[in-house]
Structures are given as structure tokens and as C-alpha cells.
Amino acid sequence: MRLLAALLLALLFCNAAHAQQTVRGTDPCFANLPTSVSVNISSATTTSVVSISGTKVVYVCGFALTIAPSATADTAQFEYGTGAACSSPTALTGTFGNGVTVAASSAIAQTVAHGGAGGTLFVAPSGTGLCILSAGSAVNIQGVVTYVQQ
């Protein structure tokens, strides 16, 4: 009786683990070798980071940015949309780096790094591109974005 109970328990564990595996296995950042794109933005604008590719989805697996200080705080925000540079955009994150408003010469750049562990952080839906909306004066946003587009 105890043996049967233990086997049943093991089976339940296995099924639960298998279900979890199926969930993770369907995460493109977990199941695929990601691609990367460098980020180099020097003006307040919307910059296309990953262009639209048919009906594919952009799964962002990680990113690292340094956002330089400036007299008007520099910020960077991920968004998605259609067109060449995410027209009719939808925000995917807040505006990172919103803070330093002193002259560029006297403050450290803001580093924002997230992900890179094999999971999707956020998604630009089917048929949309990934962009960064930058703002501030003396904008200097540098970095890399790691993603899977499929």
C-alpha cells in the first residue's frame, strides 16, 4: 500500500515537472540560441532596435544599457509598434534612468541590466518591431539587447 502511494506521489511529481518543462520549453528564450543587437543612441528619438519580420514575435531575453547623465535627465523606454520606428507605440517598460539632471561631467551614467538567464522578459507581439524611446538632452544610451524573433 505504501509502495503504491509512493509510486503515485512520484508520478504526480513527474507530471508536475513535465508540465513545468513544457511551459519552459515553449519559451523561445529558453529553447533557442538568441540573437543580439547593439544599442547606440545619441538623440532624443524613437529608434528601431529589432525590425518587423512578417508576423514574427520579438521575445526579449535580456538587455544592458548605460544611460549617460545630462542637464535634462536622459531616459530610455522599450516599446513596440508597427512601421519603421514603432508608430502607434505601446510601452513595454517604464522610462529607465529618469533621475540625473546635473551636467554630464559630474555624475555617473545609469546602468540598467536585466535578464540573460534563459527566460523571456517581455514581448513585442506578432507583426510588431521593438524600439527604444529616448529622451533628454545630450542623450547617450549605449548597450546591447538579446532576443529571439520567431
Binding site: C14, Q21, F30, I108
Partner: protein, 156 residues
Amino acid sequence: MFSNRVLAIILATFALLTCAQAQESIRSANDPCFANLATSASISVSTGVTTQLVALSGVQAIYVCGFTLTVAPSATTADTAQFEYGTGTNCGTGTQVLTGSFGAGVTVASSSAPTQVVDYGKGTETIFVAPSGNALCIVTAGNTVNVQGVVTYVQQ
């Protein structure tokens, strides 16, 4: 031979190991940073120059699994660090950037501002790749350059 309790423990352990192995096989087939023991290269650069971090090896690619940099402040021109790949001496041929120039900002004297830390990647996923037959380099710029760190990678 075995008591029921021992048998149950053995079976339960076997079931859990089998499930864990199945999960691992999904990733191991696709991402070298997940499937292999990574190597590391230290970074210590004190001039504005291009420094080779990982030499090319035949047709192998370099899968970068993570890096940590400290980029010191410097006077008049901010220190920066940028990853790139290429062939030839210090990636001088066919050069392509892999990242932006991290650390662009501080231009005050080294003694009066904190160092910039850039830390990206957990070691379990590829964050960028130097393609087949290329070396990995870091480009530093600024005055009083002091870029220190480590890059973790798989070359295969």
C-alpha cells in the same frame, strides 16, 4: 531485497531525475552557454586601445555568456568600453560591433566620482556571439582609462 520504503525512494528519485534530464535536453541542444562549462578571460585595460579578449580558433564561434566591467571615471573624456569581433590583429579586419560603448558619462577627475559597473548575463544563456572564425575584442576610449572585469564564454 529492498524494503518497500527504500524501493519507493529509489523510484521517486529516478522519476525526478528523468524529468530534470528531459528539461535540460531542450536547452542543451541549442545554447552552448547552457550546455557547456564556460571559460573566462580577465579584462584589465589601462589605455584607449583595442584589446583582444579571446583569440579566434579555426571556424569556432565565441558565445558570450556574461560579463562584468568596471569603467573608471576620468577627466575631460569619459571612459568607455565596447565589445566587438573581427579577424586579424586585435579584431582589425572585418570589425563589427557587438554592443554600444558602455560607461559613457563621467568626465570628472577619477578621485571624485564612482566607477561605472556594467554586469550582464547569468552565465546560462548566450547574450551575444562572435561568429565563426572571429576573435572577441574590447575597444576602450577616454583618458586615464581603467576598465577591469571578466568575460565568460564558450568557444566552439
